[in-house]
């Protein structure tokens, strides 16, 4: 955590521009890099799969549909591309961006790098809502029923965790994680209950969905989560500066003019929106919201003005790559996406826990 010696030397020379020379360029470079990577990965992912389509033909078809030239493909590849691959890719991008962004916001609000929708139980909470809607066969809000239920349940869970895990304006790591365990256990029990009473068709639907997967992606599903995701992703960056100030603590943030109560309420709503968007279509996909902001913080520093939108970008990229891996690595079978992210994310979480503990000199 110490700055390189070169930096220290340049401090003496020009104090005001130190951070500028070292770090201010990194966010721009990273943003460019991430966008470029997405531009490359999307057509590649669209081409790969059980029915391979060359990347050139993918691009040609996209150009054709957008009316910029190119030619349409044959009936089958055209259908595979536009009815199977692209909805899935768009969904992966939306879910990944939502999870990454929700993770960054949550860590900012809790002032704790270990906060993440999956870890502290908000994903499970939202899942209870979604499972309820699925198991009871509710559809009075059309395709928006499941996202709406997930949102309401997710919102309740964030509020619950927030109230339970804070005392004296601080969130202790131990309390946060233990609250997460309790919430996860309770949510698991509720989901179990719904499964017990659901009919067998609903059961298999729920079980598969619980593992976390994008294999059921369709355009209607994309439309179902689009409002939640877009609203959440659009609102989040507006609060970046205030999240920076909040890292000083609630009182100092208020001293600097932040209406802390309002900020908290708005951000909890945004977190619930984003989590609901992700969970309602993809089930519980853990650790994206934990790993993504953390990696960005290591490279570009903790400033939220880059971290919040950056986490959305990297989250989208990571989930697209993970989904591509999940559906190609064991083809023709498909790994559940949630299993894959947990496989990679859990060891990372473990390392982060150890490091936080070492820093604090042990849990109290």
């Amino acid at each position: 955590m110490t700055a390189p010696a070169v930096n220290d030397a340049s401090v003496q020379a020009s104090p005001a521009s130190v951070v500028g020379s070292g770090r201010r360029g990194i966010p721009w470079a990273l943003t460019g890099g991430l966008l470029l990577a997405l531009l490359v990965l999307v057509p590649v992912a669209a081409g790969l799969g059980a029915y391979p389509i060359p990347t050139g033909e993918v691009l040609s078809s996209v150009l054709h549909r957008t009316g910029l030239g190119g030619t349409a493909l044959d009936r089958v590849p055209e259908s595979v591309l536009w009815n199977v691959r692209f909805p899935r890719i768009v969904l992966a991008l939306l879910v990944g961006a939502s999870l990454g962004c929700a993770g960054a916001l949550m860590q900012g609000v809790f002032g704790n790098p270990l906060a993440e929708p999956g870890v502290i139980g908000v994903s499970s909470g939202a899942a209870v809502g979604a499972v309820a809607a699925l198991a009871l066969g509710l559809n009075f809000l059309g395709t928006w029923t499941v996202p709406a239920f997930a949102f309401v349940a997710g919102l309740g869970t964030v509020l619950l965790v927030y109230v339970m895990s804070r005392s004296g304006g601080r969130t202790e790591v131990v309390t946060l994680i233990l609250t997460g365990i309790a919430v996860n256990a309770f949510a698991g029990a509720l989901i179990g209950l719904f499964l017990f009473f659901a009919d067998s068709a609903a059961v298999s639907q729920i079980t598969f969905w619980q593992l976390g997967s994008l294999s059921q992606a369709t355009w209607p599903k994309v439309l179902a989560v689009l409002p939640c995701a877009v609203l959440g992703l659009g609102l989040a960056p507006l609060y970046s500066r205030r999240l920076d100030l909040l890292s000083l603590g609630e009182r100092p943030a208020r001293h600097l003019g932040v209406d802390v109560e309002r900020l908290r309420i708005v951000l909890v709503l945004v977190i619930a929106l984003l989590t609901a968007a992700a969970v309602s279509v993809a089930g519980i996909i853990g650790f994206v919201g934990l790993v993504v902001p953390h990696l960005l913080r290591l490279v570009a520093g903790p400033g939220h003005r880059f971290l919040v939108p950056g986490s959305a970008l990297l989250g989208a990229l990571v989930l697209l790559a993970a989904d591509l891996t999940a559906r190609t690595v064991a083809a023709p079978a498909e790994l559940p996406l949630g299993v894959l992210t947990a496989l990679i994310g859990s060891p990372f979480f473990f390392w982060l826990l150890r490091r936080t503990r070492r820093r604090q000199g042990g849990w109290a």
Binding site: M1, D8, V11, P15, S247, H255, D259
Partner: protein, 272 residues
């Protein structure tokens, strides 16, 4: 969202002697304990006011009430002529800056970023902000580690960075809770010299201190708190009396003039 609304404007510069903050018959209850039991105090522009007193006397609570962090159970706190509760957070941020007893930060922000956070209430140009930030860092002697993460600093370095952030806020009312607690001899002097400079420039500075010698040397006025009340309030020469201090601190003390400068020294009585 806030940027869409009209931003609050900074207050006009205060004239020396203007009352920037005052408490009247202020009572504050924290939990079951009445921490302040009827405090009257005025804070004037151009003046360094030191709050001293034994542990638990209510110094930090009074500072919190003047900062509009705590609400009065009875009595009133007025800031810039208006009841504390009537100000919004952004308006207050342009009027008073607060240095808490300890500063922690959840993420490893570099020092310069932490100081720049003090500029958040202002709608100034980046160049202006840059100048103020650089000035605050130079004044508190933290420029040398501007790029290091705050979390990697020592206690005394953190205290100075926190002070730099408060200075960068450029508020006319400064409320500092034990700014010298973690500092070495040299930097204690530096911080109180800065307080004097700010008062000279027309700001009001309220500073909680434990070192009565420092208070005597740098404060224009000292308020001695004891069990939630003001036991004495006035210039150092008037309030620093042996009987009063011995009673308030429950410890015999001696007050004597410095042999060369004549400034008051306060030391505990240590009989051989």
């Amino acid at each position: 969202m806030r940027t869409l609304r009209t931003r609050p404007v900074p207050p006009p510069p205060a004239r020396p002697g203007d009352v920037l903050a005052e408490a009247e018959a202020l009572r504050v209850r924290l939990g079951a304990r009445e921490v302040l039991a009827g405090v009257d105090i005025t804070v004037r522009a151009g003046e360094v006011l030191a709050l001293v007193g034994p542990n638990g006397a209510g110094k930090s609570t009074l500072l919190g009430a003047l900062a509009a962090d705590l609400t009065a159970t009875r009595g009133t706190v007025r800031l810039f002529g208006r009841p504390a509760a009537e100000w919004t957070a952004p308006e207050l941020a342009l009027r008073r800056a607060v240095l808490p007893q300890a500063t922690t930060i959840s993420f490893p922000f570099p020092v310069e970023e932490v100081v720049r956070m003090g500029r958040a209430p202002h709608a100034a140009s980046p160049a202006e902000d840059e100048k103020v930030v650089a000035g605050a860092m130079a004044a508190t002697e933290v420029t040398a580690f501007a790029a290091r993460p705050f979390s990697a600093l020592s206690g005394g370095e953190r205290a100075r960075v926190a002070l730099a952030r408060v200075l960068a806020q450029r508020a006319p009312l400064l409320l500092l809770d034990e700014p010298t607690a973690a500092l070495d001899l040299k930097h204690q002097e530096l911080v109180l010299r800065l307080c004097r400079e700010r008062a000279q420039a027309g700001d009001a500075v309220v500073v909680v201190l434990h070192d009565l010698g420092l208070a005597a040397a740098y404060a224009h006025r000292i308020a001695i708190l004891c069990a939630g009340r003001v036991a004495a309030d006035g210039p150092p020469g008037e309030v620093l009396s042996e009987p009063l201090l011995s009673r308030v601190y429950d410890q015999p003390v001696e007050v004597l003039p410095h042999p060369r400068t004549g400034a008051l020294l306060v030391i505990p009585r240590r009989d051989p």
